[in-house]
Amino acid sequence: MDLSLTEDQKMIRETAATFVKKESPVERSRKLRDTDLGHDAAVYRQMGELGWLGLPLPEHVGGFGGSMVDAAILLEEFGKTLVPEPYLASVVLGGMAVAHGASTAQQQELLGPMVEGDSVLALGWAERGSRYDASAIEARAEKRGDAWSITGEKVWVLGGHAADHLVVSAKTGAGVSLFHVAAGAKGLDVTTVKTMDGRKAATLRLEGAEGALLGDEGAAGPVLDHVLDKAAAAACAEGVGVANAVLWMTVEYLKTRKQFGVPIGIFQALQHRAVDMFVQTELLKGTSILANAKCESTDPVERAQAVSAAKAQLSTGGFFVVAQGTQLHGGVGVTDEHDISLYFKRMRALMALFGDEEHHVARYMTLPSFTEGI
């Protein structure tokens, strides 16, 4: 057992920390809220140049053959200043769906340019009625010669509005399968939707849109499970960064804001609240490490146990941190102009992604591991 970072990982953290501090302070994210794209394409390309987009992807597509633990280091730093580029969308969702679900040739075709920062990928897995169950879908694909014709609707497709290549799930006779649909494909309508955290996503409407089958027909079930576990772990990592930022922003506020002639941080009830925020942040760090390490596992039980624990913890402890951070800021905390409201919203969005508290507790308690060895 070794919980320390490797030299490479230390370097990743250092580079990322410097990047977010110097080149992506939270004001940048605030400004980009009001743009159609919601992020900066040049910064995304820069991420490619830095090697970040390929970090957790295999070497045969130009990636670094790293792990989700490596990506988590980046995401944690991104969370600290709310970096809005579609890393989660393009690398973890779109990228991993291709990496786990597509043939080697397809991987090279789709991931190669993405790793360089030349294209954005997105994954459409959810539908209006599916909630967090990737298999509960109604989109259907039919074979038309060499290609497939896909009809259905995909919602909350992160980065979908900016994606060059879309990966979507649809049912065929053999079960749930993954398809690649190019952004400009005929029969595909992409509507940008604003999200609560000031970012963008897309609703995809496919009416006989042409797509290419990725990997084997009907084999997407376990692929999506694995990808969504990785995405949930990634959300936890970003959440650690968000919580961390809110914790220290709040501590700073407690030290400087004065009432009754003293800094309010002198009041013990507020001190203990800040301590509770610190404790929750530390617990999030641990469960995020656990989730990101275990989400690589091919054993779905081991994976689910760690990921569900971490994501449930994010929904309770992470929300506690941003809610209490807001509370301790008093009135300014509930204005749009104070940064803490942006962090609050981002945390709430991360909670809603890839399963909420109910979903993950319910999953955790039905795993065979839960009743092992009673």
Binding site: V193, F319, V334
Partner: protein, 396 residues
């Protein structure tokens, strides 16, 4: 002891319910159905409907325009309005400066201000907090300099909610800086149209236009605009606090919010069944509803005290604490019920079902309920000191 409402009270409830259903203008009813944000114009439109009916100020004495209802009737009336989701009235005139004027105003002040508060002709806002003094009001620095027949006011007030729509503001200002902090404060009414008053609105985290900063730059205010005596503003502020406390239980509002959780959960699907049938989620709702039952009983007990003529004392701080917390938790559950739809912002029709459209916005600005009106931490300090009698720092 009798926990049931009398037939007369039940009849009153039915009357209110029917009247609200018919009197609420359809375009407001439409917004109420989704708990959309009401603009100030819409709030005042509803204000005027209630005023025309004579039901605008249930807590005012009959002599000055109240309907002469019992405490129970007022509880029923409030609960019905909140349950129907009608626009929340602006409290600054009706529940704050109005009752204060009734208690302490001169005859001339009463005559000048009360009728227009009732009719809705004049909208009020509150100037208490300043950038440097939130909970610590006594440290305020906005100055009213005595210029013989008038004051000259300079300073800045913050959290002047809805000041951009207000005709009048009531302020705490410093009229004497030579005495101890609380002693040199006066309660002053200022016409927002006076030269030198400027308002800078800002958005809440729910993107509603509520908060403002209000600046006073050599604003001339006639001396007759002081309520109570000069330098006795602190007494006024404390009296006003007593009036404010009765407003805050939000029992109907919480009930409505929990109903919305259930409705959302009824329509969302989990494993092919309504989310509402999922035992884990259903238990979350049940536990919160039980909290609301307890809160409702606490409110009724306070009302029972009021019925016996006891002014609501510090124990009503509980109502503020619990009402605000339960409301926040109900909004948290609405968000959780929505699943990924919780990602939605509130102004894009068709993205999520109508029941869910405004949830994210309300969820965000509802974080303010545990902060405003005396933060919940301040409420706890009040209970610790005034009810539990615990020793105070600096006085041990």
């Amino acid at each position: 002891m009798d926990l049931s409402f009398s037939p007369e009270e039940e009849a009153f409830r039915a009357e209110v319910r029917e009247w609200v259903a018919s009197a609420l203008p359809p375009h407001l009813a439409e917004k109420a159905a989704v708990d959309a944000h009401f603009s100030m114009d819409e709030v005042m439109e509803w204000h005027k409907v209630l005023a025309a009916k004579g039901w605008i100020a249930p807590h005012w004495p009959e002599a000055v325009g109240g309907p002469g209802w019992s405490v129970t009737q007022r509880f029923i009336f409030t609960e019905e309005l909140e349950t129907a989701g009608t626009p929340q009235l602006s409290p600054f005139g009706l529940s704050m400066v109005g009752p204060l004027l009734i208690q302490f105003g001169t005859a001339a002040q009463k005559e000048r201000y009360l009728p227009k508060i009732l009719s809705g002709e004049e909208v009020w806002c509150q100037g208490y907090s300043e950038p440097g003094s939130g909970s610590d009001l006594a440290s305020l620095r906005t100055e009213a300099k005595d210029e013989g027949d008038h004051f000259l006011v300079n300073g800045q007030k913050t959290w002047t909610t809805y000041a951009q729509y207000a005709d009048w503001i009531f302020c705490l200002v410093r009229t004497n800086s030579t005495v101890k902090q609380q002693a040199g404060i006066s309660f002053l009414l200022i016409d927002m149209k006076t030269e030198g008053v400027t308002v800078k609105p800002m958005l809440t985290s729910g993107h509603t236009p509520a908060f403002c900063d209000t600046f006073f730059d050599n604003v001339k205010v006639p001396k007759e605009n002081v309520v109570g005596k000069i330098d006795q503003g602190w007494t006024m502020a404390k009296a006003l606090l007593g009036h404010e406390r009765t407003l805050i239980a939000a029992v109907g509002q919480c009930g409505r919010a929990i109903q919305r959780v259930k409705r959302i959960a009824q329509n969302e699907t989990l494993d092919g069944k309504p989310l509402l049938e999922d035992p884990l989620f259903r238990a979350k709702i049940a536990r919160l509803e039980i909290q609301l039952e307890a809160h409702r009983m606490a409110n009724l007990r306070t009302l029972a005290g009021a019925q016996l003529g006891h002014a609501p004392g510090p124990e009503s701080s509980i109502l503020k604490l619990r009402g605000s917390e339960i409301l926040q938790q109900a909004l948290e559950l609405q968000m959780e019920a929505m699943g990924q739809n919780a990602l939605s912002w509130f102004n894009e029709p068709g993205v999520v079902p109508p029941d869910e459209e405004w949830v994210a916005s309300v969820f965000n600005y509802t974080r303010a309920t545990t902060i405003y009106g005396g933060s919940n931490e301040i409420q706890k300090n009040i209970i610790a000191k005034l009810i539990l009698g615990l020793p105070q720092p600096g006085k041990a």
